[in-house]
Symmetry: C2
DNA sequence: TTGTATGCGTTATCAT
DNA sequence: ATGATAACGCATACAA
């Protein structure tokens, strides 16, 4: 019931209702409500504005999308919502999208390339203004081709696709990324300075360019110091990958420090070692990558990247408010954060 | 370029393209692609299907929404994306929405009632099928009224609104909730069994029904055992609220155990005590509510609630696949999880 | 400056 | 069984 005691109308006021109430044509009403530059006399303008208020008119985004061909939405295609890396980036996207009057569509793929593709199609269908690809699924060989095709099609349809990491085959599309190689190089350098000599790296399977780059950066730093090659554990990038890697390490030789592809996998190792009674950093050091809050809580050494800002930057690039708009790649800064899981080791290693 | 070497058309095939290609009427084409029960001859049906394949036709959700009056979307209005409680519930929503072919619209309010209202309006404008209210903002007195009005209007418009906690004034709308009173009662009972005698509770300001219920449950348990009333710190429900509460406790008398409204605030206390050199649980025990992964990582005692399942249940209720559809309130189970932050205390309290 | 009319892509109603 | 055709709500090209 409204204030008059009558039952509230279930149907909303449309522009024609407004036009009728203001006694103007549909076109005139449209011109004032849509903020068109088209000239409208002050008198009629006022009448329309009054009618808008009286009817409680709100433009219908669906109808607008119908005629404009675009919805004011941005899709975020994320690998895993449980990983704070993704939620933090998503937070940046949602925040800046909202500011610009865009709605954020959340698409979680659970690292499934099929879903990633399906969501991209869906977003194109919904005429989203753009999509942000965070992380990404395993780059399967058959699916990759289909994905690239769809991304191309989306681009041809006028949808802006931004990747948060460069992906093989998708070099063509814009990206907001970090310097993967330098990140691991810097981290390894600091860890070596702390006295670590044997390194392990937990990474996703082949075909992941970010993982390859990080691996290379790590190797470069070690080689430059005459340290042995890192042992590599290809178990993945999530919590469980860390857990599996840690268990395998326990069956063999523990490295001085084990580095995870992400904080998630590093925490997986941390928890596993702790459960198994292996002291961190007493018996093994652990480090991750991302700079999530969990890493902070747990005192995990990591390479911090500006997740939130990456989301903001990607969104700006889609909406068109970015300064360096159109730049193929924006590289974001990173920062090594040394914490308790990699405390300085005694020079004489206790194995 | 497609396989023929021609440039791919930027515009997508519409139903009329399909109809033309199949040499049938628009109506017939619509009937087969929309899976209508309306009879269509096998021959034409086949021709249409072929044309769909040939043209790569995909129905336009925007146009469908235009005529149906609804978009296949579900809005999730969450208080804070950085809190794993929200992301976990959201995960459940997104997952089940996706399964049903719905898109999830992410709306983060940052605990701002104004934004909450704005988003609800926006979702109604976008003709979302439903909205899930997670958590919620501070229930300001002026804004509350506006919010209730808007929720009512949304309901009248056919939008399904589900709250994940009962809110004053919104008793009318469906909810998927937990038994707030019992949760704290159970937690307090277990903590008392461990030897804790003085309790503190960190809660949001007045007007938050969940907080009131939890407070009452806590009091009930203490009174039943002849223990003193809990000290209450009204600093809020997030990480920083925990931090502020801990700082205040440090200036006065430490309780045997401090319980946070959420895991977030409990972790805020935990980190602060740790930073200040106060042992947990040696000098003070800490417990939270939610059962997030962070609580698990940190060994935080908590009351675990089925966040993911709550999201799933809410979604099912919106889409209409719920068993107990239409039930005003679904109460989800909870479980006290005792961990390291509340290890059994010596009977002689060391103050 | 104002208004009329068309189209966006679909579904549904009505004849046939 | 099939096919015109009218909505849905809006923006705009065109006419006046």
């Amino acid at each position: 019931m409204d204030s008059d005691g009558r039952v509230t109308r279930a149907t909303r006021a449309s522009l024609s209702d407004v036009a009728r109430a203001a006694d103007v044509s549909l076109a005139t009403a449209s011109r004032v409500v849509s903020g068109s530059a088209y000239p409208v006399s002050a008198a009629k303008r006022r009448r329309v504005e009054e009618a808008v208020r009286a009817t409680g008119y709100v433009p219908d985004p669906v109808a607008q999308a119908m005629v404009r061909g675009r919805t004011r939405t941005i899709g975020v295609i994320a690998g895993a919502l449980s990983d704070p890396y993704f939620t933090e980036v998503t937070r940046g996207i949602e925040e800046s999208a909202r500011r610009a009057g865009f709605l954020t569509i959340l698409c979680s793929t659970d690292r499934d390339p099929g879903r990633e593709l399906a969501y991209l199609e869906l977003l194109r269908g919904h005429r989203a203004t753009g999509a942000v690809l965070i992380g990404g699924a395993y780059d399967g060989h058959e699916t990759r081709r289909a994905f690239i095709d769809e991304a191309t099609r989306a681009g041809a349809d006028g949808m802006r696709v931004i990747a948060l990491a460069q992906r093989p085959g998708l070099e063509g599309i814009q990206s907001v990324a970090v310097d993967d190689r330098a990140m691991l190089r810097d981290l390894a350098a600091d860890l070596a300075d702390l006295g670590h000599r044997t390194f392990a790296f937990v990474a996703p399977p082949d075909g992941f360019s970010t993982a390859e780059l990080r691996h290379e950066g790590l190797r470069e730093a070690l080689v430059a110091r005459g340290l042995p090659e890192p042992a590599i554990y290809r178990t993945g990038f999530d919590f469980d990958a860390g857990r599996r890697a840690a268990l395998r390490m326990l069956r063999g030789q523990l490295p001085d420090v084990a580095i995870g592809f992400s904080d998630e996998s590093a925490i997986g190792m941390l928890m596993t070692f702790r459960d198994e009674g292996v002291g961190v950093p007493a018996h093994v050091s652990i480090a991750g990558v991302d700079g999530t809050r969990e890493a902070e809580f747990l005192g995990l050494t990591t390479v911090s990247v500006p997740m939130y800002e990456m989301g903001v930057t990607a969104t700006a690039s889609i909406i068109g408010t970015a300064e360096g708009f159109g730049a193929p790649t924006t590289v974001m800064p990173h920062r090594v954060v040394l914490r308790q899981t990699t405390r300085r080791r005694p020079s004489e290693v206790e194995q």
